[in-house]
Structures are given as C-alpha cells and as structure tokens.
C-alpha cells in the first residue's frame, strides 16, 4: 500500500504515488531553475509540463493503470532528458540569450552553516573574500587572543549576516554561476530549510558541541579534575597519617593544634578528615558520572558517604563547641617586681632565648649540657601564638621604678582559667639600665592555648628617660609615630613628664616655648 497524491500538471489531474511525486518535483524544480535565466522561462516550462502530462496520460491509458509510480516518472524524465542533457545541447553559443551574464556571479555575504565550526561566519567571509577558510579562522583566533575583540565581532557578525538557506543563496554565497550544473550539484546536498532564531541556533550549537567535540573537552577537564581531586585526597590521607604519627612531639604544641585538648585530638582529626575528604570524593565521583555517564557507585554507597560526612561534621562541630566553651571564663593575676632605679632605661627585644630541655631533645643536643646555650631565632613565627604581649610605660606615683606583669587566660571555669594563666612562660630581664623583653610568650609543655595574654606596665618616676628600640615599639602602648624623627634612628627617645610619656624632642620644644 502506498500513499498517492493528486497533482495538476498541464491542466490534467494525475494520481501519483508519493515517492514518484517527490522525484517528479525534484526534476521539475531542476528544469525550472535551468530555464529561469531564459526570457521564455514560463513558456518552455509549460510546454515541458504539458508534454509530461500527456505522457502520463498515455501511460495510464495504455497500461490500464490508475496511478503513476516512480518507474513511470523515471521513464518520462529519461525521455524528456535531464538538465545535464539540455546543457550539452545548448553550449556557450546560446548562453548570452539567457538572462544577464552577471546573474549568479555577484557574490553575497552569507553564513556558511554547512562548513561551519561555530556558526559559519568565517566560512561565509572566506567565500566572500575568496580566501581559504583557515586563514580567516586564523585571523579570527588571533583577534580573540588580542584582547578578545574577536569574540564580540564574531557575535555581531553572527547576528547580522544571514544564513545561506536556499540553494540560490548558497550559490550566491559561493559566487557560483547560477548555472544548471551548480544548481544540480547543490540540489544533491542535504538541505536544511528550517529557519530559526539566533538563540535557538546558539543553543542547538551548544548541544551539538557537548555531544561532539565538546564532550572531548569536557572529558579532558573531567580527567583533570579527577586527577587533582585524587591528589588532594591522597595528600589529605597522608597528612592525617603523618599527623597521627607525630602527635606526641612538637606538633600539638604549635599554635593551631595547641587549641585542641589532647583527649579530643584523635577524634577531631577523624571528624575533620571526614568533613573534607568526603566532599572531595563526592566531587570526583560526580565528575566521573557527568563526564563519562556511568555511575561508579550505587545509591547505598552514596548514602553511607553522606551519613559519614554528617557524622564527621557533627564530631567537628561538637568538639569545636566544647573547646570554645573553655574560653568562657577569664582569670588573671598580676606579679609586680621592683626594678633597679636608673635615670635612663633602654628597652629592647631579645630574639634569642635560652635552650629549654624540650629544645635539646628536639634538636638532639646533649640534654645535660643545654644550659647557657641559646637559640638564635632570627625571625619569630607570628603564627606560633597570636600576638599577646603588650607593654606600657606609666608614671610612678611613689617615685619607685617597678614592673608589673599581668598574666591572663581563659578557661571553662575560673580555676581552670587561672591554671592556664600560670602556664605562661615569659622572659623579662634587667641588665643594669637595659630591660630586655621576650618577643612572645611561651606556653609550658602540653599547655593548651586559651587566649593567654601578658600585659606589662613599667612605672617610672617623672624625668626618667626611655630609649625604645624599633622592635619594642611594636609592643608599646604608645603612639610613637609622632616621635619618629627624620634621622631614622634605631632608638626613639621618650621622657616621663607630669602629663605622661612624651617624646624627647617634643618636650624640648615645649620647654623652649615657655
């Protein structure tokens, strides 16, 4: 069974099968196009159509048929001749008679979507400028690299230049003579008639891109992501193992770890590991799933991962909350000591510190012979403990020189806070008129960081001169910027006056004013 159509050809109604109709339409279109250049176009085509109708009628009559099938159409068109046959019969001599010679030789700018990489702008320009596509594309890529102007230009051209859709447009684009052979050739090419908007085209293109070339790029990116993710995961595991291995030694006394109580350390490490490792694993698995569209793990495994992650987060949050509760109460004690009176004091920071027993173990130095040795720490690590040392110079009321050190800390209870405050190690040394301060406070071994602070107040009578070196100024509760003189000295000179600490040159200026 086949579908048939009724056609009116040469004022005759013919029943024709669908496939036969399609063949006939193609043939008649070719013929029409062939003669479209001729002034007698209409008459010739009508003659031919009439003749075809007559032949169909003859066939139906002689073969006692009702319907024209594809074989009949082939027979008729063979008898009538293909456009190629017409062409050989009417070589050059006649051609001037058919239309203007310029027809079809005028190039028009269209986008060539048949040879497009993106939207056929470059291919279209190549046709128009009669250059090879690759050179246009090379120029386009260069303009993209030079500040990306090429992308904008491309999009503008994409929107402005129409797409070559019909055969004649495609031929005009190529500058092909709109002759019969060109027409016939172009007719053999698959023909997309659907005209769509710019956006639809862009989305369609994106889809094709993701299915084709794009999927390769996506896969490359995916492999890259998986590699990085796996590397980070391995690094995380290695560092956790390494951390657990060296727990007992120095690491837990370093600042960020010295917050965590020793009994929580293992469980919190586990919690933190789960919190960071599972999302990494999830990203890797998700990338595999999206880029390679297979499911590396089943739902149960995903669920287990989710539960583990939530557990990890829970552990971390719980212990973090517990630890933060140990910052609840604050305690402080003050320790005052007298300082030998001098007319002038020099304040310095001592970066060297004496070897402790722990140091000698750490650096494998004979533990019995550590006394008197010094570690020369050229730069002390700010990260070691948050800046927690401050120094202020005040006027002494009783005319004596004294140094008071205020140790403070936090803890879950007042007692604990006081205990924590007692864990502070701080070195302050007087050598004649030189007062040497330690750069930072130290915590006794295995003491936890609970926001320990030391505030020192040096009380000196009126008229005492203070020379503070550069580093001390960082700790000094004094607006020393005003005292900076142009000489850029190592020391700034301050004097205790009735109104408090003043710059030496400021006081001199004050006195001369009086």
């Amino acid at each position: 069974m086949k579908k048939t159509l009724n056609i009116n050809i040469g004022n005759t109604i013919i029943h024709i099968e669908e496939d036969a109709y399609e063949t006939l339409t193609v043939y008649l279109n070719e013929v029409k196009y062939h003669f479209s250049k001729s002034a007698d176009n209409f008459e010739i085509v009508t003659d031919i159509e009439n003749r075809i109708a007559e032949m169909f009628s003859d066939i139906l009559l002689t073969q006692q048929k009702q319907v024209i099938d594809i074989m009949d159409v082939k027979l008729v068109t063979e008898q009538m001749g293909s456009v190629k046959d017409f062409e050989t019969e009417e070589t050059d001599g006649d051609q001037h008679e058919y239309g203007s010679p310029a027809f079809g030789q005028v190039k028009k700018l269209y986008r060539d979507t048949d040879q497009a990489i993106v939207a056929g702008v470059c291919a279209g320009l190549a046709h128009y400028l009669d250059m090879e596509e690759r050179w246009i594309r090379l120029i386009a890529i260069l303009t993209v690299l030079l500040g990306g102007s090429g992308i904008l230009a491309y999009i503008v051209l994409w929107i402005m230049i129409p797409k070559a859709e019909t055969r004649s447009e495609k031929m005009a684009m190529r500058g092909e003579e709109a002759n019969l052979r060109g027409f016939a050739n172009s007719y053999l090419q698959p023909f997309v008639t659907k005209s769509r908007g710019f956006l639809a085209e862009a989305f369609d293109l994106l889809g094709k891109f993701l299915n084709g070339t794009g999927s390769i790029i996506v896969k490359i990116i995916a492999i890259f992501m998986i590699t990085i993710g796996s590397f980070m995961l391995v690094a995380l595991i290695v560092s956790v193992v390494a951390l657990l291995g060296v727990w007992d030694t120095q690491v837990i006394n370093k600042f960020p770890f010295s917050i965590v109580n020793e009994e929580y350390l293992s469980i919190m490490t586990l919690g933190a590991f789960l919190t960071f490792a599972i999302p990494l694993l999830a990203i890797i698995l998700f990338t595999v799933r999206v880029a390679f569209s297979n499911r590396p793990v089943n739902t149960t495994f995903s669920l287990v991962l989710l539960i583990l992650w939530l557990t990890g987060v829970g552990i971390t949050v719980f212990h973090a909350a517990k630890i933060s509760s140990e910052f609840k109460e604050e305690a402080e004690f003050t320790q005052s000591s007298e300082v030998k009176p001098y007319g002038e004091y020099t304040l310095t920071i001592d970066r060297t510190r004496f070897f402790t027993k722990e140091d000698s173990v750490q650096y494998h130095i004979d533990p019995n012979n550590y006394k008197g040795r010094k570690i020369l720490s050229a730069s002390y690590d700010d990260f070691d403990l948050p800046n927690s040392v401050s120094l202020s110079v005040e006027k002494s009321d009783n005319g004596k020189v004294s140094m008071s050190q205020n140790f403070s800390s936090k803890g879950f209870t007042f007692e604990e806070a006081l205990k924590n405050a007692q864990n502070i190690h701080y070195s302050f040394l007087q050598q004649d008129s030189v007062l040497t301060f330690g750069p930072t406070l130290y915590l006794k071994k295995n003491a936890k960081w609970r926001d320990q602070e030391i505030k020192m107040v040096l009380r000196v009578p009126e008229g005492t001169k203070i020379r503070a070196n550069r580093e001390v100024r960082r700790y000094l509760n004094y607006n020393y910027w005003d005292c900076e003189d142009e000489s850029n000295n190592e020391f700034i000179e301050l004097v205790m006056t009735a109104e408090g600490l003043k710059c030496q040159h400021e006081r001199v200026a004050d006195e001369s004013n009086r």
Partner: protein, 122 residues
C-alpha cells in the same frame, strides 16, 4: 572534448535546420516533431526541443495554433511563418554549399591518400 564540442555545434545547427524542414511539411505537433527527429537520430531527449521551438517562435520563424485534443488539454501545432520559409530557403542553399564543400574536401583527401600510397610502392 574538442571533438565533442564540434559535434555539438554541428548537431545544433543541423537540428534547427531539420526542425524547420519537418515543420515545413505542414502543421505539426511537438511530439510528432520529436518522433521524426528521433528516427533521424538527431535528438536524444525531448527536453531540448522546447527551448529551441520557443526560440524559433520568438525569432519570428514559427508560429503555433492551439488545437483541441481528444485525450487531454489542447496542443500546440507549429507552422512556419513567411520568415521561416525564407530562412529555410537560405538554409537549403547553405546546406547544399556545405555538403558540396564537404564532398570536394573528401575527394581531395582520398586522392592525396591514394597518391601517397602509390608513391610508397616501388
């Protein structure tokens, strides 16, 4: 290619002449012209005839009458105009000139061939 081109040119000129000759016999329908041309092996496909007829008609050599047909729509029957008859006479003359020219040329060619053969004999 050159041979083909020459053949096509010759065929084309002769085709026009033959069409005029066939029509000069009396009013005739296109498909009858075709069958006559086919028997004379001058025409391969029908499609080439229609542009030719139209051109000859537009040049004032032919005209046609619509004649009712028993089996379908009316048909075009072609006749020669006065201009066409004149043209045919001219073509007749040209043809006899051409054919005699070709005959002469062929005879000359044969003679030279014979002579050259004789000369080669000892």
């Amino acid at each position: 290619m050159i041979a083909e081109n020459t053949q096509t040119q010759m065929r084309k000129g002769i085709l026009e002449y033959c069409v005029l000759l066939i029509i000069s016999k009396g009013e005739i329908y296109a498909s009858d012209i075709i069958s006559e041309l086919k028997s004379a092996r001058l025409l391969v496909v029908e499609g080439t005839l229609y542009p030719l007829l139209t051109r000859l008609k537009n040049n004032g050599l032919l005209s046609y009458n619509w004649v009712e047909s028993t089996s379908g729509p009316p048909r075009k029957y072609y006749v020669l105009t006065e201009g066409g008859k004149e043209m045919l006479n001219q073509l007749d003359n040209t043809w006899s000139e051409l054919s005699s020219a070709i005959e002469t040329a062929k005879q000359v060619a044969e003679k030279t061939t014979n002579n050259s053969i004789n000369l080669n004999k000892p």
